[in-house]
């Protein structure tokens, strides 16, 4: 509660500073605050679902994804998100088990690797390989970059580009650090790129989540495909944002040590899609 109040003070402070030119464009902190208040955050940090799950006493389901359920609760005294990968009945049982285990393990491994490289990701508290559950830090004061972009675009058409620029810059830098650490995320979307801003922080921080499809690779090809996956997800989620996405790539190019080869591969992968003859 105290955090929320501090947030709102800072939020209004922000808008008073910029009120002359960008009255309605919300800051990351304001979006987080708004979502927390409405309890409908898509991020891990907002509202609560129905209490008490059968399999996970004390945890409440708040998101059902294609292959995992997310619960919120308390674990050893900490606010915690429980991510449970479940079996997909359409797959052969052996393939299903292999994929589920591999992704749980892969997520844990890459989170550790990412943190070592200095990439903020939710802290993992416990991995239950028996039930394919990961218990991790519940990000407080965070929103998805998807929600942030949508919120900013919905208010200011002209100014939204300028408002979003610093965040796009940060995202590009984070991705550069990640790839320089030979981490391939495998499923980059604007929903998997979170923006976190604690009450004490002066500016938002980029936090990456959902490393289930991640891998480790030094190949420029794999990094290029990683960016290609994000580009497609970005442009299909946020139509007509080509210039916005270009800022991410520009920042990536500036901050990554091996960006030249990666961007070259990205161009190649894009062309592969365009050039494919697609015979009936």
């Amino acid at each position: 509660m105290a955090a929320k109040m501090e947030d709102s003070t800072r939020g209004s402070g922000d808008s008073s500073v910029t009120s002359s030119n960008m009255t309605e464009i919300p800051t990351v902190a304001q979006i987080i605050e708004r979502q927390a208040a409405s309890g409908e955050s898509s991020a891990a940090g907002g509202g609560t679902g129905p209490p008490g799950s059968l399999h996970h006493p004390g945890f409440a389901l708040f998101k059902q994804g294609a292959e995992a359920r997310l619960y919120r609760g308390t674990f050893l005294g900490r606010p915690t998100v429980l991510k449970e990968r479940f079996s997909k009945k359409y797959r052969h049982p052996r393939l299903d088990e292999k994929l589920t285990t591999k992704r749980t393990q892969g997520e844990a491994r890459t989170v550790a690797r990412a943190r070592k490289a200095g990439i903020p990701t939710p802290c993992i508290y416990f991995v239950n390989y028996q039930s394919n559950c990961i218990y991790m830090e519940d990000l407080r004061c965070a929103t998805t970059s998807r929600d942030y972009i949508v919120a900013v675009q919905s208010v200011g058409a002209g100014d939204s580009f300028r408002a979003l620029q610093p965040i796009m810059d940060k995202i590009g830098k984070t991705l550069a650090t990640m790839h320089d650490g030979d981490i391939i995320h495998g499923d980059l979307t604007t929903s998997n790129i979170m923006l976190k801003q604690d009450a004490s922080a002066t500016e938002p921080e980029v936090v990456l989540i959902d490393f289930g499809l991640s891998s480790v690779s030094q190949l420029a090809e794999d990094k290029g495909v990683d960016l290609y996956v994000l580009e497609k997800a970005f442009l299909s989620t946020h139509p007509n944002t080509e210039t916005l996405f270009r800022i991410i790539l520009k920042s990536y190019t500036k901050h990554s040590r091996k960006s030249k080869d990666v961007i070259k591969k990205l161009d190649e992968v894009r062309l592969r899609g365009r050039k494919r003859t697609m015979v009936g």
Partner: protein
């Protein structure tokens, strides 16, 4: 014959692309000729959109996520803001191409089609061989699987670790799981409760079954066509052409060329409104 006289015809639709050069060109020439002969408007149709519109027409799916799988294509498509947008696709070879090339490795007959024979053999397979699994976000990759199984097939067979049927079974289980997975991701992304399978590989009953299980688990409906409409057919070009024609499309004679490269998302979908309903 359909006993249709020229005066019964509203317009002439032909495949503008994508496809193989020679058939595209000869069709375009014929279409141009009869259109001028009968003085009918011309309509250049995207082949993939033909599949989608025919699938919607035959199955009654309203606003589905479309899995388009054939020898040359692997795409997950959904309608959004006047375009059939490609949410996921192969980043290398098409799934049908992967199956065909695998059939050649095992010397599986082309009669009636390699894919059909793989499907029949797979029904007798029991053992699941570990193959690479290539899902990247909403995209898939098959070239790694193909080269892996090309390399490993002979030794697996020689050492009796697997039968040809096991290999067919393993390949199908793996690549179809990938396709269903990215389709489900697209459905989650778009909030869609319908899925439509089109294209030659879409005839495969195991793929349809897996898609059905996935759809049932999320309370969605799966729509699939039989081989009459799954594989390429002329009626689908007419169906898409009609949708275009009734909403004002016409291809002037000077633009009545054809192209081997023609993306699904290049066509303005004038016959559906923003929410996907027909206009």
């Amino acid at each position: 014959m359909a006993k249709v006289k020229p005066q019964d015809i509203d317009c002439v639709a032909y495949t503008k692309g994508p496809g193989m050069g020679a058939p595209l060109v000869s069709t375009a020439v014929v279409a141009r000729t009869v259109a001028q002969l009968w003085n009918k408007p011309l309509l250049g149709v995207n082949h993939c959109i033909g599949h989608i519109e025919m699938g919607r027409r035959v199955t009654g799916a309203v606003n589905p996520v479309v899995l388009y799988v054939s020898g040359g294509n692997t795409q997950v498509i959904a309608y959004q803001l006047k375009k059939y947008r490609i949410f996921g696709e192969t980043i290398d070879i098409a799934v049908g191409n992967c199956l065909d090339r695998f059939a050649r490795v095992l010397k599986i007959s082309n009669d009636p089609s390699p894919g059909y024979n793989i499907e029949q053999m797979a029904k007798k397979g029991e053992k699941l061989i570990d193959l690479p699994y290539g899902v990247k976000g909403m995209d898939v990759s098959f070239s790694g699987i193909l080269s892996y199984i090309e390399d490993a097939a002979q030794s697996l067979l020689d050492s009796k670790q697997a039968t040809p049927e096991d290999l067919c079974f393993s390949l199908q289980e793996t690549v179809f799981a990938m396709l269903v997975e990215i389709t489900e991701r697209a459905m989650a992304h778009c909030g869609s409760e319908e899925v439509l399978i089109v294209g030659g590989v879409g005839c495969n009953e195991r793929l349809q079954e897996m898609m059905g299980i996935m759809a049932a688990e999320r309370g969605a409906k799966v729509f699939a066509t039989d081989e009459r409409y799954c594989i390429d057919n002329g009626a689908m070009i007419a169906q898409a052409g009609w949708e275009m024609f009734r909403t004002g499309h016409v291809t002037p004679l000077v633009d009545s060329w054809c192209t081997q490269r023609f993306r699904t998302d290049e066509v303005e979908v004038t016959w559906r409104d923003d929410s996907g309903e027909p206009i």
